[in-house]
Amino acid sequence: MYVLKEPTQKISPDAIKVWRITDTISIIIFLVTLTFLLYLHYSYQWDFWIGAVIYSLIGVTCVSAIIELIILPVYKQKTWRYEIDSNCIQLKHGGAIKKTHMIIPMDKVYFVDTYQGPILKRYKLAAIKIGTVGYVHEIPNLPEEKASEIRNYIASLTELYKEKEDTNGDQTRG
């Protein structure tokens, strides 16, 4: 009998760098927007509370940025696990604070893609996107070759399930 394996596969250690870069970019964009609002606040003399909200948002962003850039990427990379076999895909992430463990049976996978942005490309990484009904799941930051290997593997399996379904459907119909 098939026994569910505990996920053991890890994502690339470069993930830490990638996350740091992308997070830095988004934090900078957010801060720039806030500064622009602050400028508008002073030039148009908006209400006092708007300024207070903007200042507190900037404060919160700066504090959270420290955690987000230094600790979180390491924590995420260390806790991310996945496992793929012919029966199912398992994604597990999170640790001390909140742990999530997802199981997707192979016959419920609708599509699988690899995705690569400019930053991922620089580190020769790629993400895998697994589409199920209503949701798209991601295995982030895998080495390029591994990602395409996994994609081909999942795609060939889902193809098999599709064929099986089709023949089954014809049988009941006929």
């Binding site: 569910l4 012919s86 999530t100 199981i103 049976p105 192979m106 199920t132």
Partner: protein, 515 residues
């Protein structure tokens, strides 16, 4: 969809009944009236003559456009049905021709509203089973005879099973009664059920809101305020009159409740054949609805606060039928209000693939603590914020506090689960109770999560995703970790992949890469 250059003139193209134009216009005018009210109220056009000219010409243009497109739509909508295919031509300015092979057609739903019945018409919704988004074709406003002809053709040449009774009943009601043997009648609603259910539901509140909406709508156009005040004063003149007034209001709301429920669910009948379930219901507007049994993804058995005491439940189907049609969406109720034991007896009869277990295991008591901690924001922070910023609304803050605390405590006491060979049953209780039953094969994905506090207590949360539109996610919090893990292995290990599917060697070797 494949497009064939067929010589259309050689075939008899059919049109919808001309009254469709009126029907459609009536529907769009309803929204127009709301729009006009909005324009008058928000923009206050009447006070400004320049705006009013623009406004009126805009409204006029809109009406002309609506009438024009509706007529065009009617003119362009043609269809025919022969032994091989269903052909549809539709569009407003750009027309589209489509052919649907009959063997692909998945099912028909019939809906006869009150408006239809006045004209002796009906509407059919044909599930054409195509892969894109428009999976159903609506033939609105066709004659009853035409509808039964279509049903007959589809059951003769297509793949769907419309019983003889269904397509001949409109022509000769009595003659073929004996022929309905292939369908099992499971349930027919009784008048007493309607009475009890509608009297115990919270229709009184609905009645008062309906009354108030009518009043506020009318008072915008007519000065009825005066009369209403007169009536109110009359009833407030003495205690006797006041009690008479209250009793009168109660009786009215009860009559309203019973009448509304009767019109909606009167004559509800659930039948089935080996492949499909047929639900027939309604007195004012009649709906015939059918659903393939294999499209049923899950069942939800619900019970409101009062109904829980009376042991009455409401059974709904969660299905993967792709449709945007409101009539079909609204007909997923299998049993609107039925005695619990009767439901448990009938469900396996109607859907033999579903088994119900009565042995629901309650979640452990320590979950109460986790639940209260998780919802701190709702019972502590939110009321505090309200109290701090708007002290005048202290009673709302208190209400939220009491409500969330009780619902969390009840949820801790009444939530539960049952796991058997191939079914998962999750019960979410609080003031109202909902129980979901689903089969292992119908679960699209399973997610387990565990927060820090949950881990300390040995608990976990489970999220079950079910295919439906929109996707249905059932969450149960704070079940024992042991059970959550058992659920995971039950979900995958019971699937028996290896016997069902042979994996080529090439792939099997590949698997080693990931192990």
């Amino acid at each position: 969809m494949e497009i064939k250059p067929v010589d259309e003139k050689s075939l008899t193209l059919k049109k919808l009944h001309p009254s469709w134009i009126g029907f459609k216009l009536f529907k769009s005018m309803r929204s127009l009236i709301l729009f006009i009210i909005f324009v008058f109220m928000v923009l206050d056009i009447s006070s400004n003559s320049i705006f009013s000219i623009y406004g009126f010409s805009l409204i006029g243009l809109f009406i002309v456009y609506q009438i024009g497109t509706t007529i065009l739509e009617w003119k362009h909508f043609t269809y025919y049905l022969n032994g091989e295919e269903l052909f549809i031509n539709k569009g407003k300015f750009v027309t589209m021709k489509r052919y649907f092979p009959l063997e692909n057609i998945q099912g028909i739903n019939q809906n006869t509203s009150f408006f239809h019945r006045l004209l002796g018409l009906t509407s059919l919704l044909i599930d054409v089973g195509s892969s894109d988004k428009n999976t159903s074709i609506k033939l609105e406003m066709i004659s009853l005879k035409e509808a039964s002809n279509i049903k007959k053709t589809l059951s003769e040449f297509g793949n769907i099973n419309v019983s003889k009774e269904e397509y001949t009943e409109e022509i000769s009601d009595e003659e073929l009664k004996g022929n309905s043997l292939d369908k099992n009648i499971h349930y027919e609603i009784e008048l007493s059920e309607i009475l009890i259910a509608s009297l115990t539901s919270l229709r009184l509140l609905f009645f008062l809101t309906v009354l108030y909406t009518i009043y506020s709508e009318l008072s915008q156009f007519f000065s009825i305020e005066e009369h209403v005040n007169k009536i109110l004063n009359y009833f407030q003149s003495s205690v006797t009159m006041l009690s008479v007034g209250i009793v009168l209001l109660l009786v009215c709301s009860m009559v309203y409740g019973v009448l509304k429920t009767y019109l909606q669910y009167g004559g509800l009948k659930v039948t089935s054949d080996p492949y499909r379930i047929y639900i027939e219901k309604g007195k004012g507007s009649k709906t015939n609805f059918s659903i393939p049994k294999d499209k049923i993804q899950a069942l939800s058995i619900n019970s409101g606060f009062i109904h829980k005491v009376l042991n009455i439940v409401n059974v709904k189907l969660i299905s993967s039928i792709d449709t945007d049609d409101q009539d079909v969406k609204a007909s997923n109720v299998l049993f609107p209000f039925i005695e619990r034991s009767k439901a448990f007896k009938l469900i396996p009869e109607v859907i033999p693939t579903i088994e119900l277990s009565k042995n629901i295991v309650n979640i452990p008591k320590q979950s109460l603590f986790v639940k209260l901690l998780r919802t701190t924001y709702a019972w502590l922070l939110f009321p505090l914020v309200i109290y701090y910023f708007i002290p005048g609304f202290w009673y709302i803050a208190l209400l939220i506090f009491v409500f969330t605390i009780t619902s969390q405590i009840l949820s801790g006491l009444f939530s539960g689960y049952a796991l058997n060979e191939s079914f998962l049953q999750l019960k979410k209780g609080s003031i109202a109770t909902r129980m979901f039953v689903t089969k292992r094969d119908k679960i699209e994905r399973l997610m387990m999560s565990q927060s820090m506090i949950q881990r300390k207590m040995g608990l976990a949360s489970l999220k079950v995703t079910i295919r439906s539109r929109p996707t249905k996610v059932i969450t149960i919090h704070d079940i024992p970790l042991q059970i959550a893990l058992q659920c995971q292995s039950w979900y995958i290990e019971g699937k028996n992949f290896s016997t069902e599917l042979t994996i080529p060697n090439k792939l099997q070797n590949n698997t080693n890469l990931y192990h």
